[in-house]
Amino acid sequence: MAILTPGKRPAKRFRKSKVMSGKFGKGRKVANSDLQLTSMVDMFTLLVIFLLANFSATGDVLFMSKEIQLPTASHGSEIERAPVVAITDNFIGLEGQKVVDVDQIAHDEILNIQALEDNLRDLKKREEFVHQLDKDHQFAGKINIQADKRTHFKIIKRVMYSCAMAGYGNINFAILAGKQDKAPVPGAPGAPPAAPAADQKPN
């Protein structure tokens, strides 16, 4: 069926009628209305500019879950892609895979976590094999530790030790980037030079 213009459509005999045709013939309103696109294009342009300004080429390095609430810090640097050790209240994972339960290792006497260390050694072997011909991306021992902010240092130190034993000595703590302080503290980088060094040690 053909698509017809909205509005009154009289029957043929009415259209030809001298009496009735006038009713339909005159004063008919135009059914087409212009669509104002200006505001929509403006909104689209603003959204695209905003999203482009916030665009991150690195993407999501960490898998954010509800179980891990990261602490906020204002003096961190941009996170790089590296293997991620996730520490929650219940388990320790590597690259999104659960490695060991926290309860299993809670009462161990030794410092390292053997299952994590083994997994990290395997990962290191794989990374070294993949990048053996790529001199620009040689294995640098970088690892990101993504721990919940309530995690005790007792667990973190064991994870750090296991990482170091497996060859991952370049440890980064994952944080949520907070706001930078505007006024630099004297002595800090970017601040005006501090007073000359004195021989006295602080009390």
Binding site: L35, Q36, L37, T38, V41, F44, V48, L51, L52, N54, F55, S56, G59, D60, L62, L70, P71, A73, H75, G76, S77, E78, I79, I87, N144, D148, K149, R150, T151, H152, F153, K154, I156, K157, M160, Y161, A164, G169, N170, I171, N172, F173, A174, I175, L176, A177, D181, V185, P186, G187, A188, P189, A191, A194, A195, A197, Q200, K201, P202, N203
Partner: protein, 156 residues
Amino acid sequence: MAGAAVPEPSGKGKKKALDSVVNVVPFIDLLSCCLAFLLITAVWTQVGKLQVAQAGGQGEPTPPDSKTLVLTLGLSEKGFSLTAGQGAGAIDIPKKGTEFDIPALLDKLKEVKTQFPDQQTITVSPEDSVQYNDLVQTIDACMKMGLNSVTVQAVS
């Protein structure tokens, strides 16, 4: 106007309309595609890192010279304990309620930094019961004061 509507003929009779129609439909298509792509790939949480060295690891600080000193910051259930220099007495900074007193620590570190502007290294030594959040806040405070080379060491 950037609308897609065809302008109505203006003026009388035979004059050609000077208004030209800008076809915005392809532009809207492009914007829609960009918008969809950027919304899908947007990263809403800004994640950063605090680089630390582990005692005995690769990033162990070099031995101090005359312009720097061995700076050790202990974290315990009581609060901070700052030791500036080997053999020097520890400066205790007790907790404020249940929270670590970060402003007081910043003041002490500021004193150290004023006296030793070349000081870059600090060893943070938390107890087992210290939470990750407190450790990160402490490292952040150290970095704020220009002590960028932070070594984390477990209490022996």
